[in-house]
Subunit: 341 residues, 2 copies
DNA sequence: CTGTTAGCGCATTCAC
DNA sequence: GTGAATGCGCTAACAG
């Protein structure tokens, strides 16, 4: 079994091209001034040797890792996937790599991931939500890099924020349903507060109900968040079973709303006549579903994209010795009226 | 504006604990033998200083980056998200970080990403599919690290493979529909071969049709792959318009199948009576939808998970100087009979 | 169980 | 436009 030759280094390229490593280093980035023929010789050597630049060595020396860390609750949720896409797009061309991980909606896992991410010396970090363990919070506070919290409006932000109030968005939806004449409005969500944004939406529902004088709130808690399509379907059945008088249901997300609508279709419960259903998030599924689902549009891609822009500016600021001020970007949401309510 | 103090290094911790950096280094990994009280002193120093290990420096020295690179076509497709999840889970506990990026179904972008990933010196790389640009192929061949191609059965694999034949899976579906009595079967997919797995599925459809003596194949090409739910809906309308005699339609993915089913519902075309619809991928949406969608189940999570296991073994093998042999793991698929066909 | 020495592969900084 | 010296922060390999 032949031992593989060690990968060529910059020194190998330099030797082959008859220049110093410094010249190779310069030739390999864009802005440098190199004699055209020198560069050509170097590029040929690079090609001959199959040389690939080693960024980890470079970043040790330059003290710039070229990483941005991002934590999202789940990679399987298209809302967060959109945010990740927005972030990636914002970072494209900046030379920054996204280091993505998912917390599985667990604050403990988030803490652990923040720790392991920080060991890679990211130049900025994006987290979802404003709830963190004490240690996670401390890690973020002490990280010395720009921190952006997203998808929420934390009362006491770590630093920068790009998000919206989930409670307000939920309230807007209750008011919308109220305006359409619905009074006996229920809320379908998960059994725990693990999904803090889900919990906020529920809280928003309850406070809106109270404000409207609709005092008997009906909450079905079903399954560990995030609740699935299937669980949404099961929940709506339980809802109608428990409170047959119910007129409308707000689901914690479009996924569960979809499950609920489909289960109603299956049981020939007319939506919205028998029961109106609304979701949250404006997933593609909601516009495409029949009946199309009334929901709250939140600008997932924008959240990621604007977080990316903000963090680019922040990194730039740090580097220039002029840190940007604490910033909170509030993204819009809107009730999207469709057929299910 | 105060200049932030530079982050503490291992030397700072060592000084504070009255030991050498080597001892600190040992205390910070698990398997090392350290006097319990020394370790305690070190941990206290770490805590006092808020020290965070710098892995990039470590990996330069140890020549182990702790990265595994993975490229998927899209982060917004739950099939690939599942694969990424399977990979992450397989890697959990190994100390390896997933470096995830998406190619947007473009071979050019894949090439570019392979290049930039390789600069981070990953210890293995996972790509989706077996079609790569010549340069990408060369980069993979010369990378010197384990390569796993997934979601496909390349004719000439780079090295390891975890996947299945999309064409065969598609053929199985055609045969299933044929067995149910359908003869005028159409295929709905994207307009280009950008999505190579989609193209394979179409090819499988055509060859199965020919084998069954159903010579007039009906193919609706609609939209740039990956085609959306909405486009699936539009395509089915065009299909019925063009070939009113059509009895069944196979959609390139469950997403488009779902769109098609919903559009049929909207138009009161009974599924499967007026037209049967089948998808591909077994997304959650298909089981939950009404009518539930007949599809081909492919084991997305498993693909990622087994690719992860394989690559862990391969990395281990390389390290031990005993590279594992070229391996091809064929994952299962199965037609899942539901109501839409 | 702990310390010493010697780099890892590059980019910074200063020369010229 | 190019080169030499130096060190980033850590760990491998040895020694004790």
């Amino acid at each position: 079994m032949t031992k593989r030759a060690p990968a060529p280094t910059m020194a190998d390229v330099a030797a082959r091209a008859g220049v110093s490593t410094m010249t190779v280093s310069r030739a390999l980035k864009d802005g440098a001034s190199i004699a055209p023929d020198t560069r050509l010789r170097i590029m040929k050597a690079v090609d001959d040797l199959g040389y690939v630049l080693d960024l980890s060595a470079g970043s040790l020396s330059s003290k710039r890792s070229g990483f941005v860390a991002a934590l999202i609750p789940s990679i399987n949720n298209s809302n967060f996937a959109d945010t990740a896409r927005g972030l990636t797009d914002a970072l494209a061309g900046s030379g920054l790599q996204l280091l993505l991980a998912y917390t599985d909606y667990s604050m403990e896992k988030e803490e652990e991931l923040i720790g392991s991410m920080l060991r890679r010396r990211p130049e900025a970090i994006v987290v979802t939500g404003g709830s963190h363990t004490a240690r996670a919070r401390k890690l973020l506070d002490n990280s010395g890099i720009p921190v952006v919290e997203t998808w929420d409006l934390p009362k006491r932000p770590v630093r920068h924020v790009v998000g919206f109030s989930n409670a307000e968005a939920s309230k807007a939806l209750v008011r919308y349903l109220h305006g359409k004449g619905y009074r006996r409005i229920a809320f379908i969500g998960g059994t725990t507060n693990r999904d803090t944004r889900g919990a906020d939406r529920r809280a928003g529902y309850e406070s809106a109900m109270a404000e409207l004088g609709l005092n008997e709130s009906r909450v079905i808690s079903f399954g560990t968040p995030p609740i699935s399509m299937k669980q949404g379907g099961e929940a709506v059945v339980r809802l109608v079973d428990e409170w047959p008088e119910v007129e409308a249901a707000i689901c914690v997300s479009d996924l569960s709303a979809f499950g609920a609508v489909m289960e109603c279709n299956r049981r020939k419960w007319k939506v919205p006549q028998r029961i109106a259903i609304a979701g949250f998030g404006d997933f593609e599924i909601s516009s495409c579903c029949h009946p199309a689902i009334t929901t709250v549009g939140v600008h997932c891609y924008d959240i990621g994209n604007r977080a990316g822009d903000l963090l680019l500016r922040a990194i730039e600021g740090e580097r220039a010795g002029a840190p940007v001020a604490r910033e909170t970007i509030i993204t819009k949401f809107e009730v999207i009226a469709r057929d299910s309510a």
